[in-house]
Subunit: 364 residues, 2 copies
């Protein structure tokens, strides 16, 4: 049977034409030589302009480092901040790449589960209890990956209070799914200006601009950290291609129309998945506020809760789903949420319909 890839972290959208035109213009101008390590001035300015226009935050372009994708931005940041044995607190489920990135920089992950029954609301008390003198960093994805949770301003205010109470604590806010929210736009952590010496943001073009193959991301960080990150970028990769950055500039300048068109496609799909899941009571889920994933709790389909089940673990369940009905989803075990899977709905309509039929046939 053909396989439907609902496990991928990439949408079915092609890169917007305006971005390709940005590249073509750069080629016409022969912009094929090494660029600055920090990134091109035009992309750093476009990023700063975005935060000014969307969030009302005056941000000097000198505080923006362009990186080889958002993962690379996180890597440079963690290498520049962490010392061995520093503790890093994250809310689970989290993006699966974080644990390796943290341990590569010598940090120790402390995972705090957020409750799906409460819509993955910020678990303030658990967070407070987890923060010790060894805690150097809190990583927050907003919108969440895989949860699609958009934190309210009130929740983020609580995070800001945590920073006020713990003067050595930093926050890295991963905002790479911003723009793809269905209702309230996410509130960037950068808005807490009085804490800007300890607040950093990572973002990029792979998700909300459908530019995963262009490898452009960025880091906004306090100057001291940014300088170290820039020095490390210089030592290890020199810098990012000015050609792909020229494409990213145009994407950023046209972000509102790009986000609008993506959401017009994704919103009815999110609705369709909800309707289909409502008919599969064994799978519990939370409707994402943003992005294109559902996180499904499949524990009611495993042997521990269902003695008729053939599957002991979520990995076995996902293998069964793949082998029997050709549907690929991503077990969330390494996202800190055993018993759950991440399922993307960023697929063409007819494929999504087939996927939902297959899921229902497999589970019921």
């Amino acid at each position: 049977m053909d396989q439907i890839p609902m496990h991928l972290g990439v949408s079915h959208f092609s890169t917007p034409a305006v971005a390709v035109e940005g590249l073509q213009e750069a080629l016409l101008q022969n912009d094929t030589f090494y660029g600055p390590t920090e990134g091109t001035m035009s992309l750093r300015q476009a990023v700063a302009k975005r935060y000014l226009e969307e969030d009302g935050i005056p941000l000097p372009e000198s505080q923006v480092l362009i990186t080889a994708g958002a993962k690379h931005a996180i890597h440079l940041y963690l290498q520049s901040l962490l010392q061995p044995q520093d503790q890093v607190v994250m809310l689970a489920p989290y993006w699966f790449a974080f644990p390796d990135l943290i341990s590569l920089s010598g940090g120790e992950l402390v995972s705090i589960p957020a409750n799906p029954q409460e819509g993955y609301a910020l678990p303030l008390e658990a967070l407070k209890a987890a923060i010790t003198p060894q805690t150097k960093l809190l990583i927050l994805s907003n919108p969440g990956n895989p949860t699609g949770k958009v934190y309210t301003q009130e929740e983020l205010q609580k995070v800001a209070h945590l920073l006020e109470e713990h003067p050595n604590l930093h926050v890295l806010s991963d905002e790479i799914y911003d723009g793809l929210q269905y209702e309230t736009p996410p509130f960037s952590m950068l808005r807490f200006e009085h804490l800007r010496d300890r607040i950093s943001v990572v973002n990029g073009f792979s998700k909300s601009f459908a530019m995963s193959g262009w490898r452009v991301g960025y880091l906004i960080a306090p100057f001291e950290i940014l300088e170290r990150a820039t020095a490390l970028q210089l030592k290890t990769i020199s810098g990012v291609s000015p050609l792909t950055q020229a494409a990213a500039v145009q994407a950023m300048e046209h972000r509102q129309q790009i986000w609008q068109s993506f959401k017009e496609d994704l919103a009815p799909k999110r609705q369709r998945v909800q309707e289909a899941l409502a008919q599969i009571p064994a799978l519990s889920y939370t409707t994402p506020d943003a992005g294109y994933y559902f996180t499904l709790d499949v524990s009611a389909c495993l042997q521990e809760m269902n003695s008729n089940s053939l599957y002991k673990t979520v990995e076995e369940w996902a293998s069964g789903l793949k082998n029997q009905v050709g549907l690929e989803v991503l077990p969330a075990t390494n996202m800190g949420m055993p018993g759950a899977v991440r399922m993307s709905f960023a697929l063409p309509d007819h494929i999504l319909e087939s996927a939902l039929l297959r899921l229902k046939a497999f589970v019921i």
Copy 2:
């Protein structure tokens, strides 16, 4: 006065049209999504084909990792090979980025000077004396940067013997200026097939394909090292853009005509620089076998040897050159050759002529 940039590690050539066409074709095919961490199959195959056709080396494409430039390939390699306190032997002068890359991976640089009076010939006895049980790696640039030295097959045979005598010693051969030799093509270290479990090659598209802004390089390494390098690439940058790789494929396929056209431009320029330097006896130099740099020993222009000189150090001399006649060259102090500078001649003819006049006026 206008500044003439002879300090840069980049030529005046634009990226070849065939490479740009490779990118255009990939855009038409919508190849804008994440590619494989290892690199695209077509680029890995094109690299393998190059080594088969140029060097007669059968190389499985699975032994090729595509990286975000050659510097990144070196970084991934050193991170995958070195343990803290491992010694790394290099012949000086060497590429200025190596010391930082080595120390970032915990290695200790042991620098062995090669003698310009002997044309930077391989100093075998000094090398032998430098290799201890702590020596993990010998790094060789062939063609040399900044020297432009192409090692003879006999010299490389001696390196192979060193490996035979020291069963824990590895070699990294930096071959990024290959293709730009004026006479005998460099002999790739990969030809020593019986030592392939300890021989690695780094190469890329920035120099001999004029694609510095595309950020594509590659590492050819023993499988065990390559696996670690690939895992680290996955953790830190996911992979390289399939778009820029598509351009690199076409460049590689058309390498002979590209190299030919670059050398037809560079060879008379090398000749002109030689003629001009012959009239400036205070600057001693060796004519490069490959590439587009002259390494000039300027110590006869410094105070220690010339009491009339205004300049104590090569940095002061280079500043004087820049400020008085608008000529930028690169002091070789951090290339392990104090008293020398690196000077590129990859410039348009009329600019090169002006540069040579300025140099003569300044020195004489």
